[in-house]
């Protein structure tokens, strides 16, 4: 049986990382654990841990990525919610059985043993949902 373990992160699209951090870090008091360039997603991401999860501030670095288009259309704001799961393949199979539209029909494999897939917001009533699993 697949299971949803926890809220891993909330991804927030920002137009300016330093301006966003003036709220999240300077005013609210969270701390950035790391800032990473993510070329595969054409973005730079700042990670701010909170309890067992984190906020991810995503700054697009090109104009034609998904987050760049989101930013152009909606302005900065919440982009997606990510859950850590166990049994990702079984969960994706169950979602398909229920007619849920997946953005990634099979999980995307990252170098560090992380596998993830996005569910299309058409099937979730407006919420872009990421599911990820650690295999190492």
């Amino acid at each position: 049986m697949p299971s949803i373990k926890r809220i891993d992160h909330l991804a927030v699209v920002v137009s300016d990382l330093q301006e966003a951090l003036s709220f999240w870090e300077d005013a609210l008091g969270l701390s950035v654990s790391r800032v990473e360039a993510v070329p595969a997603e054409q973005s730079v991401v700042a990670f701010l841990p909170i309890g067992s999860g984190e906020i991810e501030l995503v700054k697009p670095t090109t104009d034609d990525s998904g987050t760049a288009k989101f930013l152009a259309k909606h302005g900065p704001g919440m982009h997606h919610i990510c859950f850590e799961v166990e049994g990702l393949d079984d969960l994706l199979a169950r979602l398909k059985e229920h007619g849920i539209q997946l953005i990634n029909e099979t999980p995307v494999e990252k170098e560090n043993g992380v596998r993830y897939a996005f569910i299309h917001p058409k099937s979730t009533h407006g919420v872009l949902v990421e599911l990820y699993e650690r295999t190492e």
Copy 2:
């Protein structure tokens, strides 16, 4: 020193609770812990725990609440993120010192010892943020 302890919940505005649950419960496999009418917020809320946090599905029950207007303007989707904090008064004072606009200048007190305040999305770069504290 105030501190942000954890992601308490992600609130998702829905137009139809049963339709939304067909995704979150039937397909994804989360379980509803309770469904509550919240007259003060003119809504019905379904709570779905995940790890130390939860998803809250908020169905407006009138046409003129904040969530009803959100739904009319944006359609269903992510509405706000809530963090559990310690030292809410000190944190609100610090936010004001940083020029952050609060929706609730002083915390709203609920019967069960919970106090909360919302930060205006104008000051967070597009994210409606709720801060809440348990005092009992």
